[in-house]
């Protein structure tokens, strides 16, 4: 094995206090190294769940930057503040209450009509999405496009915190995704067909036969199946 590289330490500031932490860690891991143990603000730790939005700034720069604590590496002199919870008022209608039109979305979330296309939301998005384009798509009545643009939204809420129009993007996008999923996607006939076959008992005899076998017999059948691509006659359905 090659020589272990020396660890470089940097200084970060959290809640105003300075901490010396190894270079190369994420904000989340650096804070843990410094002695913090998370209960809130840590979820999947892989960038999928949106539990760990963070705001920070870098030395010599007044700009507030945003990211996910589990995905953003620490930098020397970074000032960090965590946002464990974005208190959005959300509506969660029942599926039967969903309506496949943009007017319905606007009625629940009227503030989207105040979008000034400033694009602050897109600049804040740690997923690199364009919430602004999605909001504009809704205003044009194109829910399908909006759902497509926001499919990768992890609902961290950073866009809403930046929005001058107070738009509740994650809630809006979830609603639009539900509407499109329920009303706009074609139903798969093959799945329906298979479920009917199973319910009609088509596989009952074969399963009864399989459940009566010991592992050795099952192994023989599978070996034969791998060689020939065929199951024994009484298992063919």
């Amino acid at each position: 094995m090659s020589q272990a590289p020396l660890r470089r330490y940097i200084t970060i500031f959290f809640n105003g206090e300075a901490y010396s932490v190894p270079h190369g860690l994420t904000i989340m891991k650096a804070l843990e190294y410094a002695g913090f143990r998370f209960t809130r603000g840590s979820g999947c730790r892989g960038g999928f769940c949106g539990a760990c939005p963070v705001v920070y700034r870098l030395p010599g720069d007044y700009k507030i930057r945003v990211g996910l604590a589990c995905q953003t590496p620490v930098e020397d002199g970074m000032y960090i503040s965590l946002i464990p919870y974005v208190p959005l008022v959300e509506y969660v209608p029942r599926r039967e209450e969903l309506k496949p039109d943009a007017g319905y979305v606007l009625k629940l979330y009227p503030e989207i009509s105040r979008c000034v296309s400033c694009n602050a939301c897109s600049k804040a998005c740690p997923q690199g999405l364009s919430p602004m384009d999605a909001i504009q798509a809704i205003l044009r009545g194109d829910l399908r496009k909006a759902a497509e643009l926001t499919f990768d939204c992890i609902a961290c809420g950073l866009c809403s915190l930046r929005c001058p129009a107070e738009i509740r993007h994650p809630a809006v996008f979830r609603l639009v995704g539900r509407i499109v999923g329920v009303y706009y996607m074609p139903r798969s006939r093959s799945v329906e067909q298979r479920v009917k076959e199973i319910e009609s008992g088509r596989f009952n005899n074969a399963f009864a036969k399989l459940l009566s076998m010991d592992p050795g017999s099952l192994r023989k059948i599978y070996d034969e199946y791998l060689k020939t691509g065929r199951l024994p006659g009484d298992l063919e359905v």
Binding site: M1, F38, C44, R95, M185, P186, R194, V195
Partner: protein
């Protein structure tokens, strides 16, 4: 954006210098079955007897499990009988569901559908609703929905993939109900990936038909988005940041009648009394067994095993775990996250520090993982900037072999993941090492998710579904069967819970089951400071922990 530090850049030079020769050289030959077995037995953690030990107390005394699991099973309860006031009940419910991943949410939904009053169903969850391994699943859900496929073939693939060690009755339920689950989720509005009017079906290791149903690269995100919405809209009671620390039992029957919950913010205990408890607590990757990083979410600490064992649940196959061969070894930010198998199937080569291939890349998962571990232990690994060991996965080679643009087209999520950390995998190789992925075994259950004692008798009032359970996947799980499992058996748990509540009238609660357990703990001299469930891993730095004073 930093990319690789200079000392690693020097090591990458070796990969680049050997690439041309490796293009011409034949691939390492496939191992014979005997060679595979020898390699796995020599290096795979499942075959390291020093990592395991027999349980010394409890209903499965003598059963060999990973020592880390034995340690949490042989731990003191967080609350002892007499510590808490059980006469003051905080929550009264028909069904208490512990955990809010795919299994817990499916159970809640189907309990409502089966006629229960949603306000009488409580989901108690450790972190936020839906914080789970389910939200991270990418590769899809197995279900035999294709015209060339059927549940019989799915059954056989699953049994063979586990080397004929699973409970066939559970596998039948899995294979027969998985297509129904795909339709159910479709009805709820899950946007499965489609080809034309039909659902897309992708191939997966060990499956002889293409039957993985996915939702782009964010399958779990989409499914959980829909299920969380559904469960919230139905009006089910949700208690976030309230993990369960102990089950409550009826003192006369030994059946389960609720749980002691713990408010992670205020550190208060809460008493939840219920006719039925559904354990849907998930797996244990955050125990970092054998020191491995993990793909699992922050709360995956094996709590359900601890709780169930104390009320007498049988356990199965906890001497085996799934280590995915290619986890991220560096950067630290994404340590342990998955590098999909596809990266190797489209030409990525595994290399040691000398730039040599050391295994045929598409051997079974346990074989590849073993070979990577061998290279590191024998000193041919690559030291990462954080001091851990890994091997190279030569990704730029993919573009040489298959043409520029292949990576962005075939493995876009991986490309984006590394770009976030300044590494362009079309230009530079990546560092990989096996990662702890899945708890194959768990609590013994029957087809309707009743938790069983080792004798096979059901524990009244206790159901379990998902990764916490064992038997479905035997000693090795196929890709996409875990998410079929959580929805198929989560649904069954919800339906069965609704049925059981109608048969239950009296609910008495106690911690009586702990009396003999505590006596056993004392008899083997377990120190009282060893407590479980551990709830969350402790990643605080050593320098801090050395000086810590817990008030």
């Amino acid at each position: 954006m930093s990319g690789y530090p200079p000392e690693v850049r020097k090591l990458i030079q070796v990969v680049e210098d050997t690439r041309r020769d490796r293009l011409k050289a034949p691939a390492p030959r496939r191992l014979t079955l005997e060679e595979r077995e020898n390699l796995v037995k020599a290096w795979h953690p499942d075959y390291k007897p020093e990592l395991k030990r027999p349980l010394r107390i409890g209903v499965s005394k003598g059963l060999v499990v990973y020592s880390v699991i034995a340690d949490i099973l042989e731990s003191w309860p967080i609350v002892k009988p007499g510590d808490v006031d059980l006469t003051n009940v905080d929550y009264d419910a028909d069904v208490l569901i512990i955990g809010s991943g795919g299994a817990g949410l499916a159970a809640a939904w189907w309990a409502v559908r089966s006629g229960l009053d949603p306000s009488r169903i409580i989901i108690a969850t450790k972190l936020r609703l839906g914080d789970s391994n389910t939200i991270k699943y990418q590769s899809g859900t197995q279900a035999a929905t294709g015209p060339d496929d059927n549940p019989i073939i799915h059954f056989l693939d699953t049994i063979a993939g586990a080397h004929f060690t699973n409970n066939p009755k559970l596998v039948k339920v899995l294979a027969e109900e998985a297509p129904f689950i795909i339709r159910w989720l479709e009805d709820l509005g899950v946007r499965w990936s489609r080809v034309g009017d039909d659902l897309e079906r992708l191939p997966g290791g060990g499956a002889t038909r293409a039957r993985l149903h996915c939702s782009g690269d964010y399958t779990g995100l989409e499914v959980m988005r829909v299920l969380k919405d559904e469960v919230r809209s139905l009006g089910v009671q949700i208690l976030e940041f309230h993990p369960a620390v102990e089950l409550l039992t009826n003192p006369s029957t030994g059946g389960v009648s609720g749980a002691i919950l713990y408010n992670l913010d205020t550190k208060e205990y809460k008493i939840a009394r219920s006719k039925v408890v559904v354990l849907a607590t998930g797996g244990l990757g955050r125990l970092h067994i054998a020191g491995f990083p993990t793909t699992n979410h922050y709360g995956a600490t094996g709590d359900g095993l601890v709780l169930a064992y104390r009320v007498g649940a049988g356990l199965v196959d906890l001497d085996t775990l799934q280590y995915h061969p290619t986890g991220v070894a560096w950067p630290e930010a994404i340590l342990g996250e998955l590098i999909p198998e596809k990266t190797r199937s489209i030409g990525g080569q595994l290399l040691n520090v000398k730039g040599e291939r050391f295994i045929y890349e598409l051997e079974p998962r346990d074989v590849v993982a073993s070979a990577i571990i061998r290279e590191c232990v024998e000193g041919r690994g690559v030291l990462t900037p954080t001091g851990t060991c890994g091997v190279w996965l030569d990704t730029p080679l993919i573009e040489v072999l298959k043409g520029p643009g292949t990576i962005k087209r075939e493995i876009p999520a991986l490309y984006r993941m590394f770009m976030r950390h300044g590494i362009d995998i079309t230009q530079e190789p990546i560092l990989t090492y096996p990662t702890l992925h899945y708890q194959n075994g768990g609590v013994l259950i029957d087809e309707w998710t009743h938790v069983l004692r080792p004798s096979g008798e059901a524990i009244p009032g206790l159901l379990a579904a998902g990764e916490v359970t064992g038997g479905i996947h035997g000693r090795n799980r196929l890709v996409g069967n875990s998410t079929a499992d959580i929805f198929v058996f989560g649904r069954r748990a919800g339906i069965e819970a609704a049925k059981l509540t109608r048969e239950t009238t009296v609910i008495e609660i106690s911690l009586k089951h702990l009396e003999s357990f505590i006596a056993d703990l004392k008899s083997i001299g377990v120190p009282e400071k060893r407590k479980a469930p551990i709830l969350l891993p402790d990643y605080r730095g050593e320098a801090v922990l050395k000086r810590i004073i817990e008030l």
